[in-house]
């Protein structure tokens, strides 16, 4: 049975053609402890909350965007405030080979979007919720062979409203054969808020396409953010991805990558840095469906105080995907006896001649290293910050441009322990 959450979100009539999805959602409810994919993330508290759907004033809320933006040149800046597209804050240059439209047309007279996981499994409840309620989002197309030099910024700004809001946005990126694009997906808060964001992003990479994707999540400390990123790579396409998770009270990110074309390659570098009572759950599912495909996944996690981090990295090499190369490494640091990190690497191989390596660790700061730094004059808190920063930095080295890297370093530094935290 559905709790207050779904009842509040689905109390108004939903867009035409989506009623059956809404009914199924109300019937099935949210994933619970018995859904394997959600076993580390308890939704009971969320389920009891209620939200207003959408923000009627989103179009007029004053936002000081310059204070929030990553300071880099872009070919396009698409800004959503509380899930609503803001023309006045956005900025699109005319670039040959780049087309930007809308992923859904207001929901009027259109059947439900078919993005995300609509399999009907309860674990996919948020995908279905997005399919019911998403009425906006960008559709970005890069034409065959086009190389877009400057990055595209996709920015989600959360800002306080009279009530806690729920927003649903659907974004689609289609890269044609040989196309190349850099996308920075940025979640940021203009003021403290406890909104619920539910974002579905689909990336389709044609043969030989190259997508450089940076996901930078610094949502408000009280916010809830549910994301699903699905990526489909044709022959020799390359998805190079960096993910930084520092914000939100409750964060769940499903990252689904299908390597369907021969020679497709997925590179993922990611880090989460948590404190307070934050909960961040990254659920990665990579499937090698074609020969000679490769994935290279390196993630780091840091949890301080009473926070909890979850990293699930599942790689499946399907029958026939011979010659595949799958690498996953996940290292984690616990900075407090009350923090928790669960890491779950899963490797399933049904093909021959596969190279695969995976490893996961959860540990603490090296006491010898701490003493070494202190013996040179660095106070304990500085020594801890330097060591944790270096630990996280290992997955950020390749982020370009350097202004973005510097921004992320600053962001992470602010999330690192400021003092002894043995609460």
């Amino acid at each position: 049975m559905a709790g207050a959450l779904l009842a509040s979100l689905l109390s108004e009539p939903v867009p035409a053609g989506r009623e059956h999805l809404a009914a199924a959602l109300l019937r099935d409810g949210l994933p619970g402890a018995r859904d394997e994919a959600w076993k580390y993330t308890n939704l009971r508290a969320l389920e009891q909350r209620s939200y207003a759907v959408g923000d009627a004033q989103a179009a007029t809320r004053a936002i000081d965007l310059d204070a929030l933006l990553v300071p880099i040149e872009s070919c396009a800046r698409l800004v959503f405030v509380n899930g609503v597209f803001r023309h006045d804050l956005s900025n699109v240059q005319l670039v040959t080979g780049l087309q930007i439209g809308r992923s859904v047309d207001d929901g009027r007279g259109e059947s439900a979007p078919t993005d995300g996981d609509l399999s009907g499994a309860r674990s996919a409840a948020f995908s279905r919720l997005n399919a019911v309620l998403a009425t906006d989002g960008p559709q970005v197309t890069v034409l065959d062979g086009a190389t877009i030099a400057q990055p595209l910024l996709l920015i989600f700004v959360g800002v306080a409203a009279d009530a806690d809001l729920a927003w649903n946005v659907l974004a689609r990126f289609d890269l044609g054969a040989g196309a190349s694009l850099k996308v920075i997906e940025h979640h940021v808060a203009a003021s403290p808020n406890a909104h619920l964001g539910n974002l579905v992003v689909n990336h389709a990479l044609g043969a030989g396409a190259h997508l450089d994707l940076v996901q930078l999540q610094e949502a408000a400390p009280a916010a809830t953010l549910i994301r699903r990123t699905t990526c489909r790579l044709e022959d020799t396409a390359v998805l190079s991805m960096h993910t930084v998770e520092t914000g939100a009270q409750l964060m769940r990110h499903d990252l689904v990558v299908d390597l369907v074309g021969r020679g497709a390659r997925f590179e993922s570098r990611g880090v989460f840095a948590l404190q307070g009572r934050q909960h961040a759950d990254t659920h990665m599912v990579v499937t090698h469906d074609a020969r000679d495909t490769a994935c290279d996944i390196v993630w780091r996690g840091v949890a301080d105080q009473r926070s909890r981090g979850v990293f699930h990295g599942a790689i499946t090499v399907a029958p026939g995907a011979d010659g595949s190369d799958a690498k996953l490494s996940n290292k984690n640091l616990l900075l407090s006896p009350n923090a928790e990190i669960d890491t779950q690497p899963v490797l399933e191989i049904y093909a021959d001649e596969v190279k695969a390596a995976h490893g996961a660790t959860v540990g603490q700061l090296d006491e010898r290293a701490l003493f070494y730094l202190r013996s040179r004059g660095m106070p304990l808190d500085l020594a801890r910050r330097i060591l944790v920063g270096a630990f996280c930095g290992a997955v950020l080295a390749e982020i370009r441009p350097t202004a973005l890297r510097a921004h992320i370093d600053t962001l992470l530094a602010a999330r690192l322990p400021q003092a002894e935290t043995g609460e």
Binding site: D366, E367, R368, A369, F371, Y372, L373, R374, S375, R376, G377, M378, P379, L380, L382, A383, I386, L387, G389, A390, F391, G393, A394
Partner: protein, 253 residues
């Protein structure tokens, strides 16, 4: 400068130092020699403030203050430096950043202005030249992938940059070939100063051919059993540590 009196130290329930006394004045070079397990490195670690050492008796006074109640970083800022026997690798932290953070943390503690990156670069280049270290070392992560000799030279380089008042060298000579040994010795000798004291902990006399000590102490079973001038080191080299133990027995009888 340093007054250690009747120091007793226990590690993991085992008594390691059993009444060690040693006084070091500014400008002096002391060598502390002894067999493995005598407590040489324990003394270095206790002076630098490493955790896990239980002081059961005795006092350590440094420039009139109780050294034992200071945190490791406070000791460093007050001028105590330990060159580690096993320098620690710090992946992801480059040497320049590390050293500047250390120097500025010490300066901040002492109420001195921080050194900016240009001033710092000038300083480290001058020190690199003395130790014949390549500038490339500055851009590498601290000790990561360094050879044994490079790690030890990096310790001396750090010492040169941080300019401590009391430098403790814990078996800095171990694992060094003769060329590296000379470079380390040159680095140390260049820093000898009437205001600075050294405590050189070593197993072998070899280093003392290049760093000439004012005093040599022999440590055995947790206390100093023999002190003398540099000729003591030569006698040790000739007769071995057993000689000291025997003499001690004779003396006790």
């Amino acid at each position: 400068m340093l007054k250690i009196d009747n120091l007793h130290v226990r590690v993991a329930g085992k008594d390691i130092l059993k009444g060690l006394s040693l006084h070091v004045k500014a400008g002096e070079m002391h060598a502390l020699m002894g067999p493995n397990g005598a407590g040489k490195s324990t003394l270095g670690n206790v002076l630098a403030g490493r955790e896990g050492y239980e002081i059961t008796q005795g006092t350590v006074e440094y420039n009139g203050r109780n050294l034992l109640e200071l945190a490791p970083e406070e000791r460093a800022a007050e001028g105590v430096f330990l060159a580690f026997q096993y320098p620690v690798e710090i992946p992801g932290v480059n040497n320049t950043y590390f050293l500047r953070a250390a120097l500025n943390a010490q300066r901040k503690h002492r109420g001195e202005p921080e050194v900016d990156s240009m001033q710092f670069l000038k300083l480290v280049r001058a020190k690199l030249a003395v130790l014949q270290l390549k500038e490339e070392l500055l851009h590498r992560a601290v000790n990561e992938g360094f050879s044994g000799g490079e790690k030890k030279r990096n310790e001396i380089f750090q010492m040169a940059v941080l300019e401590p008042k009391l430098a403790i060298l814990d078996e800095t000579d171990s694992g060094l070939d003769i060329d590296a040994l000379k470079m380390v010795a040159d680095g140390v000798n260049a820093m000898r100063d009437p205001a600075r004291a050294f405590l050189v902990i070593t197993h072998y006399q070899r280093l003392l051919d290049y760093i000439v000590p004012d005093f040599v102490h022999v440590i055995a079973d947790g206390r100093i059993v023999e002190s003398g001038d540099r000729t003591l080191a030569l006698k040790l080299e000739e007769h071995g540590y057993a000689w000291v133990a025997e003499r001690k027995l004779v003396g006790a009888a």
